[in-house]
């Protein structure tokens, strides 16, 4: 099967709706097909990967730690839009430290988050062969 460029576009805050969790599940399933997968976090989607999430008070499963497993699934490109962070009073420091391990470099941890501006996000989207938006 030829490899295609897949992008999962995440634009919703977690927990209030089921979109973020659904997207994450589809991403993990799609990893089995060994495609060139990237994720985009823009608009309220940036709240999905904030650090320090604690859902004890709302009785829902905290799935934020699952984003840390994406590197194990060969998903190494997480585009995050700067303007979306700024509009929400957030900085890159508010995001989890998401990395992948390079097996060919003695399992060195390398950053997965790619901070892009809006125009660069548009370019990244334009490159895709398949785009799934949540």
């Amino acid at each position: 099967m030829a490899t295609k460029k897949f992008m999962f576009v995440n634009r919703k805050s977690p927990y209030g709706t089921v979109y973020a969790l659904e997207s994450l599940e589809v991403v993990l399933i799609s990893a089995a097909f060994e495609q060139d997968v990237s994720l985009a976090f823009l608009d309220d989607g940036v709240y999905q990967i904030t650090k320090g999430q604690n859902t004890d008070g709302i009785g829902q499963k905290n799935f934020s730690s699952t984003y840390k497993a994406l590197g194990d699934y060969e998903i190494k490109k997480l585009y995050v839009e700067k303007e979306s962070l700024e509009e929400r009073g957030l900085t890159p420091d508010d995001l989890m430290d998401l990395v992948w391990e390079d097996e060919d470099d003695d399992w060195a941890e390398k950053p997965s988050i790619i901070l892009v501006n809006r125009a660069e996000m548009a370019d990244a989207m334009a490159e895709q062969e398949v785009t799934l938006s949540f």
Binding site: K12, D43, T50, G52, Q53, G57, I58, N62, E87, G89
Partner: protein, 102 residues
Amino acid sequence: MAMLHIVNKSPFERVSFRSCLNHVKPGDSVLMIEDAVVGAYDNTSFSDKLKASMSDVSVYVLGGDLVARGLSEDRVINGIKSVDYAGFVDLTVENETTQSWL
């Protein structure tokens, strides 16, 4: 007749929070729950709009929904009070009526 306005949609995604603020009366209360809690942060593209309402309206945020999203009470707009579920119930009792801006 004081009213409690409950908002649960992100102000960055839907207009319901803005519409709520455009319709509140002096003495009313606004409570942010679920995805609306992201509107509580200061220095956002929405914070000036919310601050403008706060001179004569009390604004609350459900703390559990904030921390669920990794957000800190230290960075919410000054004057917004964090409440738990019991505080949510108190607000519904203190106000004669309630409106949910879905």
